[in-house]
């Protein structure tokens, strides 16, 4: 099954009509004591959109991302994912998380399980799929990320780029309504970055809803629909990627871009 097939009957709306927001972040603030990590952040990601969140280290972008599936808590504001409020005490967070895929900087594959077992575990234990069904789905996804021959390997036997692609397959196996990427290429060698970005690009083209924290400006420019720029816990810019790269509206973003693009 391909990703596009997983996306059930999304109403094909003209570009001018607002599609429903899959992720709606409204005035989120978070602090550790006196240290403000997130300050009044609002943004939304509509169904099928790929949004890159960028900014200097320590700007709060990873924290904001982790708030979306409740891995981080926040003190004020609200986050609604597909109509479900993340911060609500009555929300079944476990169930919500099972519907949101997440990819980590350091892959976080389960080292004691084979590649295929990594992908089937949550399908079987959370979604209650049969082992056969989960394995079939796992194999399809592994082939999709170019690792069909690695099913029986253990994570430590794979390169970083291969591990990250397995991690993406693991997240996709849950048929997520959205995917969160937390600096997915930051721990990879340059050669491997390309393989991972290709998989992510294909996902975006297939219409997956994506929130991507990354320093990969090529991906932001060519694949993302929008770019959100953060600094010091605030969202300073939120613009279509062509606009963001052509004429950033804040001085801070201009400096950031000039530094990061010079490389």
């Amino acid at each position: 099954m391909t990703i596009s097939a997983l996306r059930k009957a999304s109403p094909i709306a003209p570009a001018s009509v607002e599609r429903p927001a899959t992720i709606e972040i409204t005035r989120i603030s978070k602090s550790y004591g006196a240290l403000e990590v997130l300050n009044d952040c609002s943004m939304s990601i509509r169904k099928g959109e790929a949004v890159v969140v960028c900014g200097p280290s320590g700007s709060g972008k990873s924290t904001l991302l982790k708030c979306v599936n409740g891995l981080e808590t926040f003190q004020s504001g609200s986050i609604v994912v597909d109509g479900v409020s993340v911060g609500d005490r009555n929300t079944d967070l476990t169930r919500l998380r099972s519907r949101i895929g997440m990819v980590f900087q350091h892959f976080e594959l389960y080292p004691h399980l084979s590649v295929l077992e990594n992908i089937t575990l949550a399908q079987v234990k959370v979604l209650r799929r049969s082992k056969t069904e989960a394995s079939e789905k796992g194999m399809t996804l592994l082939r999709r990320v170019g690792l069909g021959d690695k099913a029986g390997c253990h994570p430590a036997q794979l390169s970083g780029g291969q591990q990250q692609r397995v991690a993406i397959a693991r997240a996709l196996a849950m048929d997520p309504i959205a995917m969160l990427f937390d600096e997915p290429t930051s721990a990879l060698d340059p050669e491997m970055i390309k393989d991972v970005l290709e998989v992510m690009t294909e996902l975006a083209r297939d219409g997956m809803t994506m929130m991507v924290v990354t320093h990969e400006m090529g991906f932001a420019r060519h694949v993302a629909d929008r770019v959100v720029f953060m600094d010091d816990g605030r969202i300073l810019e939120d613009a279509p990627s062509s606009v963001f790269f052509a004429q950033p509206s804040t001085e801070r973003a201009r400096i950031f871009l000039s530094k990061i693009l010079r490389q």
Binding site: N69, L71, T94, R95, R97, S98, R99, I100, G101, M102, F104, H106, E108, L109, Y110, P111, H112, L121, A122, K125, V126, L127, C153, H154, P155, A156, Q157, R170, A171, M174
Partner: protein
């Protein structure tokens, strides 16, 4: 030295039978205490890593209680003191009706003492895994219990196999303290033989060698287990 060596006492009746009986009790005490220590120790170790503060406090209280009192004293408390502190019917039942009171006291005393040490190793084994695995498990929708069952504990078990092996050896050797509450395990039987024959050196040598054989067997078996569960590509095969 005018010691009259006579190794033949070790293979003559009834002393050979005594030694074998002692070996049997040592195996029974160490085996049962180890099962108890693993069950209680893993539970307490997990408690110490949970997000819930009350659970952590409970786990810490257990560990600090049982590892800070000498094992010998704990055995005395279980055997001599506890029956007096309990309500009379229960205390009397322990004193009069409980079959094999020395055995069960030794198992419980040794098991609960060792559990505190197993708990610390379990905690260390879990905490060594790093937060990323827990986050990944949570992000995929696994409950906390599921993430312990399928991810944290299987990894932690592999992490702590080497120190757990040492702990198992300690259980085998510490079981000798059971002689102080009257259980004639291997060391206790050796003393019996010394009293009866005045050939203590032979008897204790036999006991020593038996312990060495026992602990070597434990080491070999657990090394094989280590190799069996080693994670491909990650853990060096011992």
């Amino acid at each position: 030295m005018s010691y009259r060596w006579d190794w033949s006492v070790l293979v003559s009746e009834p002393y050979l039978g005594w030694l074998l009986a002692g070996l049997g009790w040592t195996l029974l005490v160490a085996g049962a205490a180890w099962v108890l220590a693993l069950a209680v120790g893993v539970t307490v170790g997990v408690l110490r890593t949970l997000p819930n503060r009350a659970a952590r406090t409970l786990g810490t209280a257990y560990v600090e209680t049982f590892r800070n009192i000498p094992l010998l004293l704990q055995l005395f408390v279980w055997y001599f003191v506890l029956p007096e502190l309990l309500p009379a019917p229960i205390g009397n039942w322990i004193k009069r009706e409980l079959p094999l009171p020395e055995y069960w006291t030794a198992v419980i005393g040794l098991g609960l003492f060792t559990a505190a040490r197993v708990a610390e190793q379990t905690r260390a084994g879990i905490q060594a895994i790093g937060r990323g695995q827990t986050l990944a498990a949570a992000a995929s929708g696994l409950t906390l219990a599921q993430s312990y069952r399928y991810i944290l504990l299987p990894i932690a078990a592999r992490n702590v196999l080497p120190p757990l092996t040492s702990e198992f050896l300690n259980v085998v050797k510490n079981s000798s303290l059971a002689l102080t509450i009257g259980l004639l395990e291997l060391t206790g039987q050796s003393r019996q033989i010394e009293s009866a024959t005045f050939h203590g050196i032979e008897a204790f040598t036999a006991a020593t060698l038996t312990y060495v054989v026992l602990t070597t067997a434990v080491i070999l078996v657990l090394r094989a287990v280590e190799r069996l569960v080693a994670i491909p590509g990650l853990m060096a095969r011992a």
